[in-house]
Amino acid sequence: MGMTMTQKILAAHAGLEKVEAGQLIEANLDLVLGNDITSPVAIKEMEKMKVDGVFDKDKIALVPDHFVPNKDIKSAEHCKCVREFAYRNEITNYFEVGEMGIEHALLPEKGLTVAGDVIIGADSHTCTYGALGAFSTGVGSTDMAAGMATGKAWFKVPSAIKFNIVGKPSKWVSGKDVILHIIGMIGVDGALYKSMEFVGEGIKNLTMDDRFTIANMAIEAGGKNGIFPVDDLAIEYMKEHSKKTYTIYEADEDAVYDEEYTIDLSTLRPTIAFPHLPENTKTIDEIKEDIKIDQVVIGSCTNGRLDDLRTAAEVLKGRHVAKGMRCIVIPATQAIYMQAMEEGLLKTFIEAGAVVSTPTCGPCLGGYMGILAAGERCVSTTNRNFVGRMGHVDSEIYLASPAVAAASAITGKISCPCQLA
């Protein structure tokens, strides 16, 4: 019986020739990540361990991004704790305000995540780096602490679900629609404890940013990781961004999968997840009634990349957001922000009546920069629409692509760019 792509990476990092689903292993880590919410807890736990500092100062990334620039005194204390730990341990990859970005957009851009790596991060969306052919998964603060101290983590080797991607997406269909469609199909626990392995000839029709979005939301189906094969596009991305050596692993031909699905990109439609679970999906054509919207958020580790901003700007260009609409655009990193400025995208947003913010996770998790009041509705390019996620428990979040979010900002109701005059 052969191994899946994920199993091969794990076996290599555990020093084993072969692993099987369900086996408990200890794997060597290539990178350990934390943010301003999870790192303070990890630092406190690490201080209880009988260790002298971190295992490798170059293999830890600390990214304050959730509540920065500091939203209040308590957040400032957390950030201070992370900053002091980073300086004390001479952490190479600590990113201060001004150089930081939303962690899962920032780390690939900085070349810290490459194919074949094993990466843990104390943030559930750490699974994003599977887009480059890495095994990466979210953990909690104690796992992060143990990872920082020992350079190792324990894993139960996952089984996998195979998604065979075929066809070419139509205009206004992006990676977000692909992953929302899949979550709608298999449910928020459809891939619980499992790898989601994306394969097939249709992958060439997905941009790197599409793939980051798809891998990013593997956790929203309960997945342990989402992973793509390493093709020319991924290699080109890594060569452009990274000096690290990458290793390409491929699933064995006789690898066994729990389930297999075929996703024909040409048949997908703009897809929206209704409150209060990412699995409550409807295509734009299935929405018959007008759903009035108060706020639109375009950003996050899911959809704050350049492709996303370009699409949103294409929709907003020469148009204006609806009266009473708050449209918040958040480029995910400083480099994306700069590029968006040079391309004139920021000007388009501002002329359309949107606000543009410094990189932050803020509104996605109801932290700050766009909290919802009771009864308010938001179309958001973020990743979760749980009860109270973005504010009041009686507010509602509709998850969608940047194209749908931008179009909805213009009409004031859930809309697709294809419906605009």
Binding site: L24, I37, T38, P40, V41, K44, E45, K48, M49, K50, H66, F67, K71, D72, K74, S75, H78, G121, A122, D123, S124, T126, G138, V139, G140, S141, T142, D143, A145, A146, A149, T150, W154, V188, D189, L192, Y193, I219, G222, K224, L277, L365, G366, G367, R384, F386, V387, G388, R389, V393
Partner: protein, 162 residues
């Protein structure tokens, strides 16, 4: 290993970490402070009613969503002695073990036990007893090394003892 006994708080499918501890409180990492907001977005009465030793029972995919360890920390600090569910989301599962919050997967118990029942859990055997109803269930026993982590009251102590 220890046993747990307490009154049950019952919840449904997909209880996410945003309702277990909303992000607006994550500017703190103090367990006692987090405990005062535990479950408040789906059950305002939980923190008023919970007694030390009480047990939480839920159906599938408990703890889905964010990786925040603050979620099991809040539950543990609120006094809960054990969480029983049909299934747990994987990051929550790791986190609970790593901080020494006993959790146990048992689909039958998750369905059969009701709010307010008094329930006893034996962690060595995985036997769950609904004292109120007089029923017993066999939960999923932990692999040996996870038992050691739980017995050490968390991963940090376990690593220190190794």
């Amino acid at each position: 290993m220890k046993a747990a006994k307490g009154t049950v708080f019952k919840y449904g499918d997909n209880v996410d970490t945003d309702v277990i501890i909303p992000a607006r409180y994550l500017n703190s990492s103090d367990p006692a402070e987090l405990a005062t907001h535990c479950m408040e977005d789906i059950d305002k009465d939980f923190v008023k009613k919970v007694q030390k030793g009480d047990i939480m029972v839920a159906t599938k995919n408990f703890g889905c969503g964010s990786s925040r360890e603050h979620a099991p920390i809040a539950i543990k600090a609120a006094g809960v002695s054990c969480v029983i569910a049909e299934t747990f989301a994987r990051i929550f599962y790791r986190n609970a073990i790593n901080i020494g919050l006993p959790i146990i997967e048992c689909p039958e118990a998750a369905k059969g036990i009701d709010a307010g029942d008094v329930v006893e859990v034996n962690f060595d055997t995985g036997i769950i007893t609904d004292v109120t109803k007089g029923t017993t269930y066999k939960g999923q026993a932990f692999p040996e090394f996870m038992q050691k982590i739980i017995a050490a009251e968390g991963l940090v102590n376990y690593i220190n003892e190794k």
